[in-house]
């Protein structure tokens, strides 16, 4: 098989796969999130009891995962827009993906303490 003639593997395909997977994950969360927010129409207690689940350590890690998925989908989505609408977009798609990964890593590092801090305080005391 001649190398490099198939659209398979490398940054182009894997960013496409990651975009689909993160998109599906975020969509399913969105469905649940609208349902839990709708509890404000039931009673303040029903809402606060459910939101308490979001404050537990285990769910805090899932929230960090949600932030990871949303951030990648958002940044890579901007890259997709650039590929489609910028006349040099396709030529620089690989460099743009690594830029996306770099910005994503910086933002994830910055989100770690605000999103996970309370979970660590609860797990390891004060």
């Amino acid at each position: 098989m001649p190398a490099g003639t198939l659209y398979r593997g490398r940054e182009g395909m894997w960013s496409w796969v990651a975009h689909r997977v993160t998109g599906v994950l975020v969509f399913f969360f969105l469905f649940v999130h609208v349902l839990d927010t709708a509890l404000v129409r039931v009673s303040p207690e029903a809402y606060d009891d459910t939101i308490a689940v979001y404050k537990t350590p285990i769910v805090a890690f899932m929230e960090y995962g949600l932030v990871a998925a949303v951030l990648f989908h958002a940044l890579n989505g901007l890259r997709v827009v650039a590929v489609d609408f910028w006349n040099k977009g396709a030529r620089y798609q690989r460099q743009m993906l690594w830029t996306v990964v770099g910005v994503w890593a910086v933002l994830m590092a910055g989100a770690a303490y605000p999103v996970l801090g309370h979970a660590f305080r609860e797990l390891f005391g004060s």
Partner: protein, 153 residues
């Protein structure tokens, strides 16, 4: 030059003996299925990009407010929601975010179902389930934003 190669065949076409018409591959004719007679997929493609750009601002702002600023998720409560939805600005923010995100996600899942569900009936019912869930969620969320009552208790 090109003319010589086309003249190789015996038939010579003229106004009285016109060559058979070959339709362009994607021409829309009377026999084209209804589903492909509109530019729906083009508008869907454009909507994903335009709504995506808006959602980057709305959703990342939402995550910043709910999960990062002021103690992160720990401060979220009924009172916090009531405080934010007292402002028409945040009501509009959440309403636009709800509609764009659900339509963006719904169209994304429609694409994925079309790609991976190969049997016609499977594809049809998965999309019916998707459309039902999407319409239900959009309507429920809209109702909640418009009928929110801070003095419910």
């Amino acid at each position: 030059m090109a003319i010589e190669t086309t003249q190789v065949t015996d038939t010579t076409y003229s106004p009285d003996n016109p060559a058979p018409v070959i339709e362009p591959p994607r021409a829309r004719t009377g026999r084209t299925p209804r589903a492909t007679r509109t530019n729906f997929e083009l508008y869907g493609w454009l909507f994903m990009r335009l709504s995506g750009i808006v959602l980057v601002v709305l959703v990342l702002g939402h995550l910043l407010i709910q999960l990062v600023l002021d103690g992160g998720v720990s401060k979220v409560s009924f009172a916090f929601v009531a405080g934010r939805w007292a402002s028409p600005f945040w009501q509009a923010w959440d309403l636009i975010m709800l509609w764009l995100a659900m339509l963006h996600g719904g169209n994304g899942l429609r694409t994925i179902i079309n790609d991976y569900a190969e049997r016609d009936t499977t594809r049809f019912w998965l999309k019916m389930l998707l459309y039902t869930a999407t319409v239900f969620t959009v309507l429920l969320g809209t109702l909640v934003i418009f009928t929110f009552d801070p003095n419910i208790r």
